[in-house]
Symmetry: C2
Subunit: 224 residues, 2 copies
DNA sequence: CCTCTTGCTGTACGATCGTTCAACAAGGAC
DNA sequence: GTCCTTGTTGAACGATCGTACAGCAAGAGG
């Protein structure tokens, strides 16, 4: 009776598991407290470990933050890719799945968006964040560009390519510029919703994006 | 010769002047060092004053930061309004002036954009920033909405309003949604250019925005 | 020239920051 | 049961944070 179970004061974890737990704690702290949540003590408390453990698994704080940014980035992109893959082969259905995935939880979460904004604020002055951005953003750009390409009837454009090339060298729709504009629209709507969630519904954001795309397709078809 | 001019160790300034100098120094520090530049010592060094002076003119640091946000906001909006007013009365010319003002210095400055991003990161957890945002953002929204309204031939829509109302109650173009989408496009392009200035030229951003507007006008005209 | 207001300085304080490191102990190997 | 590896702890360090405040001095008013 008096003999209590000799409960361990802590449990060992494989480095990989602990690293991930610390990354999750970092993101959680960012959600709760914003930039002020990015302190060793806040994060370690959130993870339920001591202050010293972070520097055992990460060389310093900045590396942990960069790892958190890399994780949140690749998680998001993986979710998008999965949603698109689930939608089948129709370009329209794939794009719709992408948009609905974008403008719904967990992507369109006010907390998650606030996390992104803090990272953006760090971007310019942290080489580590810049590297993490470059490494993960590429997957996002190529996913989006691929969907745009398959949505626009460029195969027709390719067949009549010789004629159009001869006329000026420009394709019917500048895919690069279209991707830039579309990304801007997505990010901008995201940001607006983050700063003031009440002003519009997610479905309206989808609507706006599809209107943009429809206009793009129409323009592309008209010229080819 | 040995008599040196008894140069004053500091110069007194009217509170208004000094407050503005401190606000300018705050913004300059944000440009140079990002979020880490938001410290009393960094700001006071930038302003060339002692650490104690800030708390003489502002109750605390957060109030100074909020004042800086308010200032940068109203400066931007005032610049836009001036550019639009200078453009005359033609809706097209006014909108073009607005876009060109938006996508050129000093608005489209990588430093200035970085400042904004830091403020956005603070937004969610600072009531003072939220208040400053609400107080200044309204002017921007109304400017933009006014330009959209005068750009769309809504007077024709108003004349034939009875017919369209009877058909479904929705105007040809939802002005609210159009403003939201347009703002998103502006902010998104701004953000993209900030994060990676090399990917597109400002003129291309203007082009994208005008394409969006042209499609909006066309859609509005087709239905009325 | 003197006085008085007040803008301004700069030290001091306690809190918290990121990081270090010696000691501890969990738990698998044997 | 006994090593032994190593994940983990937590006190301690120096630096820096925001703020307070007692005193200095600039410069206008008389």
């Amino acid at each position: 009776m008096a003999r209590t179970e000799p409960k361990p004061r802590f449990a060992r974890q494989p480095p990989e598991v602990r690293r991930q737990a610390l990354i999750d704690a970092t993101i959680e702290c960012l959600k709760r407290y914003g930039h002020e949540g990015l302190s060793i003590r806040t994060i370690s408390a959130q993870a339920g470990v001591s202050v010293g453990l972070i520097n055992h698994h990460f060389p310093n704080k900045d590396e942990l933050v960069a790892a958190a940014y890399r994780h949140i980035n690749s998680e998001l992109i993986a979710g998008m890719q999965a949603a698109v893959a689930r939608a089948g082969s129709s370009p329209q259905a794939r794009m719709r799945a992408f948009l609905e995935s974008w403008f719904s939880a967990p992507s369109l979460d006010a907390d998650a968006l606030a996390v992104w904004v803090v990272f953006w604020g760090l971007y310019r002055h942290s080489r580590l964040i810049q590297r993490a951005h470059r490494e993960t953003y590429q997957g996002y750009v190529s996913l989006l560009r691929g969907m745009l390409a398959e949505l626009l009837p460029s195969e027709r454009a390719a067949r009549s390519g010789r004629t159009r090339r001869a006329r000026g060298g420009a394709p019917a729709v500048d895919l690069r510029l279209a991707a830039i504009g579309f990304t801007a629209l997505l990010d901008g709507l995201w940001l607006e919703w983050c700063l003031e969630p009440g002003t519009f519904r997610p479905a309206e954001a989808v609507e706006l994006c599809e209107a943009w795309l429809a206009q793009l397709v129409r323009r592309n078809g008209a010229r080819s």
